[in-house]
Amino acid sequence: MSEKELGKKWDRCLADGVIKIGTGLGLGIVFSVLFFKRRTWPITLGSGAGLGMAYANCQNDLRAHYLQHISQKEQ
């Protein structure tokens, strides 16, 4: 993987992380206000889930370069 490509992947990871944590936070706030009497734990759960999704995406993205796709294997 070239350095430029790696840099782009990291940029994508960070942007995706920001989006997912923000979305998780937002959904956590919505659920907390509507169903859980404004408690903190849905907000924490939402942010944590967003962070976890971003981490998994980043991990897949960085590993994808070293994995062989099944279509290439069959050739």
Binding site: K9, R12, V30
Partner: protein, 113 residues
């Protein structure tokens, strides 16, 4: 009759709002792959200044907020130039130290003479 329907209606409204929020989040690619997330962030960054301008106009605060000056600052370039500066100074340090110590010694010798 109304007393029984009202809590049900409240619950239905809450579920609709929550469900709608989750649907919008999933549909707009906020919970999708990295590329979709990065694209969503770019769209949000592009949409903020016009939205802010419209809100200012709506509240009649048009002339109050000064426009953000476009700062040509790149953290990546600054970091890289900082690393280069540090390493080049570290590599020159022994030579410069020898030079300065020689100069110091010469100065002291001249004083003693």
């Amino acid at each position: 009759m109304a007393a029984r329907i009202l809590p049900l209606l409240k619950l239905a409204t809450k579920v609709t709002i929550a469900g709608g929020a989750v649907y919008v989040a999933c549909d707009s690619g906020l919970l999708g792959s990295s590329e979709q997330g990065a694209q969503a962030l770019e769209k949000a960054k592009a949409a903020v200044p016009p939205a802010l301008a419209e809100w200012m106009k709506y509240f009649g605060l048009e002339a109050q907020l000064p426009t953000m000056p476009k700062v040509e600052f790149s953290p990546v370039k600054s970091w890289n130039s900082g690393v280069r500066w540090t390493i080049s100074n570290l590599s020159e340090a022994p030579t410069k130290a020898a030079e300065y110590s020689n100069q110091g010694l010469q100065y002291v010798k001249d004083l003693i003479k």
